[in-house]
């Protein structure tokens, strides 16, 4: 895959080239590309004069970094204690079923949706909670989730 290295350069320039800024740079890249492609990590390592293994080490240490390409819409279903007892798993099962996804295959082939679970979004009062990109949807049910996905597909809901 080709990446716009100029964009990566700009991110590195704005954070500073010193090794201590690696995490900020990776966050910037992840925000731009929604994940950290191998080639980009190698490029960053070379530009910032850090070993590739170190960049990989940092990228795999933090949960927030993703090494795989994610869909345009990242759906996170909370499975923290509060959401779990208020039945978040049936929502997860339903969403995966609609999109043909599983734990091992989190992203649809058309790169439209990625489905993940998180351990507590910090909005337990709204349980069960689901987020799409950064928008929060409270008190979900499997049915509401299905409608939401259809709305997104039809462009009625923009996240």
């Amino acid at each position: 895959m080709e990446f716009d290295l100029k964009k990566i350069d700009a991110i590195i320039d704005s954070c500073g080239c010193e090794a201590k800024n690696l995490i900020t740079v990776l966050q910037g890249v992840q925000a731009e590309l929604r994940y950290l492609p191998t080639e980009v990590m190698e490029y960053i390592a070379e530009k910032m004069d850090i070993s590739v293994a170190k960049v990989f080490s940092v990228a795999t240490f933090y949960e927030n970094f993703s090494l795989n390409a994610k869909g345009q819409y990242v759906i996170k279903i909370c499975d923290g204690t509060a959401c779990h007892v208020r039945k978040s798993i049936p929502i997860l099962t339903k969403v995966r079923e609609i999109l043909g996804l599983s734990e091992d295959k989190p992203t649809t082939d058309d790169m439209m949706f990625t489905v993940e679970t998180v351990s507590c979004l910090g909005a337990c009062g709204l349980a069960p909670v689901m987020t799409v990109n950064d928008k929060v949807f409270p008190s979900m049910t499997p049915e509401k989730a299905e409608t939401l996905i259809n709305d997104i597909k039809e462009g009625k809901e923009v996240c």
Binding site: E42, A45, A53
Partner: protein
């Protein structure tokens, strides 16, 4: 400066950087799995804990000695703690000790024995990972890794490579190259230092002794072995002989007993390297460069330059083959055309990178046969001697084979220690071939264990600026300094391993003071030899006049191919 109490003994401390160094000085060997005095302190294994007055634990490797401090090193609580760590480590470790390459030399095994770990109550839930056998020099078995990070730090801090690092976290944490790639797919330079520091069998040197036994037992093969300078001052350690003892005569005898046809000394071809490299240097002086001229004996350095500084390849780096390959060419010339018996040329080296060097395309004939078939390490030779049941310590000495039975000059011997190649080459360049000049050179500053040394010496009216580095990190720092215009050198010697080949990863593992003893032994050998000048040695003269016969370029020099992997 101050006094502390260790197990109720009053002990003075000076500038020790931690309690561990103080306890070691007074003869108490605290257990460690993640501490090397030459690397940064990591403090992860928690084996080195000591108990303070309040009954609390402190990690000796990462605690400064304080005046009036009282510590105990061996209380029931500490013993219980150490046993528990060992039990947990063993629980997450493949425990096939009897079939492990590291058995007998494994620190985990040794400590388990020392602390009497009698049971392991927990099951290993880790997913089994495949071995990485892709490298020509080392084998990585992730299932035996205890996450001490020693390899990570040596590769980053000494070689500046950072090939290995931690990845993932918590119970999923592993040590691996970036993206879990195979070592052969990385820029790893095959120096093997990660294997040298690995306390367990997670990284080991590739074992090729079975191949060697096959050749030795095949009557259709003629096995000719050359032995590098650094091997003779380290092998004896494995058989209870004094550290630094020169055991070359016994090595020859042992090899002969195992069925080797001819044994030569790589010192002879080191002398040839000296002559060729001095000639090349003087030619550069006459024609104006390019400077600096880098030495070319260390294959790890060559590989490093190929990936990081391709501008030096076939240019600043001397075109001389390594002594191993020069002898390879000579041996091939002497015995390579026997229709009855196929020549198998073997080297015994302190080095793991030579295993890679012998496989390079430049050193392979058109029909695919390698000029030097195998490069075994000092440790592999020790293992073969043990396999064969030879009582090495009590062996008679035996002479090398003709036509090189004298085994070269003192200049070739010091190739094994940092600074030796530069010293030998400059010794050769000078017209003054007296022992007084040798003495003068000795003190000019190329000797010693520092990772970076510089010296200026006047050679026939011209000041020659010399730099000597060991460790590729030190080499890179030096190159950067030159690029910034802060330094100028005419000749730069680079060796990848600590203190040069005597600290090679193929040697029995040694930190100082043991490494220093090896260095001293090589210098002593040079000192004791009457022949100190490579080109004056009758064997060097013989090799050039009777064997090379003017084909210096073809036999003794190399042009590195692009994209060699």
């Amino acid at each position: 400066m101050g006094y502390m109490y260790i197990d109720d003994m009053k002990v003075e401390f000076e500038n020790e950087k931690n309690i561990l160094e103080v306890t070691r000085r007074i003869g108490i060997e605290l257990p460690t799995l993640c501490y090397y005095s030459e690397l940064s302190t990591y403090g992860a294994c928690r084996m080195c804990m000591v108990e303070n007055e309040k009954g609390g634990f402190e990690a000796a490797c990462s605690t400064l000695p304080r005046d009036g401090m009282r510590i105990k090193t061996n209380t029931p609580a500490l013993i219980k703690h150490r046993r528990m760590i060992l039990e947990l480590l063993l629980a997450a470790h493949c425990r096939d000790c009897t079939t492990c390459d590291k058995s007998g030399a494994c620190r985990l095994q040794e400590l388990a024995l020392r602390y009497g770990v009698k049971r392991v109550r927990f099951a290993d839930h880790r997913e089994e990972k495949p071995l990485d056998t892709s490298s020509k020099s080392i084998v990585r078995d992730p299932n035996k890794c205890i996450l001490c990070g020693d390899c990570v730090r040596v590769c980053r801090e000494k070689q500046g490579m950072g090939i290995l690092d931690f990845a993932y976290r918590g119970s999923k944490m592993r040590v691996m190259p970036a993206f879990d790639r195979k070592l052969a797919e990385t820029d790893c330079v095959n120096c093997g230092q990660c294997a040298a520091v690995c306390p367990t069998g997670a990284i080991t040197v590739k074992d090729e002794t079975d191949e060697m036994w096959k050749y030795l037992n095949d009557p259709k093969k003629m096995v000719v072995v050359q032995v590098a300078p650094a091997v003779r001052v380290a092998l004896g350690e494995q058989f209870g002989l004094p550290e630094g003892a020169n055991v070359m005569g016994k090595i020859v005898k042992a090899l002969k007993m195992m069925g080797v046809d001819k044994v030569f000394d790589t010192v002879v071809s080191a002398d040839m390297t000296v002559v060729e490299e001095a000639g090349e240097f003087l030619e550069r002086v006459a024609t104006g460069g390019p400077f600096p001229m880098f030495t070319s004996c260390c294959p790890a350095w060559i590989k490093y330059a190929e990936t990081k500084h391709p501008e030096f390849i076939n240019k600043n780096i001397s075109s001389c083959k390594s002594p191993l390959q020069m002898f390879g060419a000579v041996i091939d010339e002497l015995y390579g055309n026997d229709p009855e018996r196929e020549l198998i040329s073997v080297a015994v080296m302190p080095c793991t990178a030579k295993k890679y060097e012998v496989s390079r395309s430049e050193f392979t004939k058109a029909d695919g046969k390698r000029i030097v078939e195998l490069s075994l390490t000092t440790q592999e030779l020790a293992n073969m001697i043990k396999n064969a049941g030879i009582d090495f310590a009590n062996l008679e000495e035996e002479f090398l084979d003709a036509p090189f039975d004298m085994g070269g000059s003192g200049a070739g011997v010091i190739f094994g220690v940092t600074g030796g190649v530069a010293e030998a080459v400059i010794r050769e360049c000078a017209k003054d071939k007296t022992n007084a000049y040798v003495k003068e050179m000795r003190d000019v500053g190329v000797r010693g264990k520092e990772s970076m040394k510089e010296a200026v010496i006047n050679v026939d009216g011209r000041d020659i600026h010399i730099a000597v580095v060991h460790g590729l990190k030190a080499a890179e720092d030096l190159i950067q300094k030159m690029e910034r215009g802060e330094a100028y050198y005419d000749i730069v010697e680079v060796m990848a391993c600590p203190e040069g080949c005597i600290g090679g990863a193929g040697q029995p593992f040694a930190l100082n003071p043991r490494r220093d003893k090896r260095a001293k032994a090589l210098y002593r050998t040079d000192n004791d030899m009457s022949m100190k000048f490579s080109s004056k040695h009758p064997e060097t003269i013989y090799a050039f006049d009777e064997i090379v016969k003017g084909r210096n370029h073809e036999m003794l020099h190399v042009h590195y191919n692009k994209n060699e992997k």
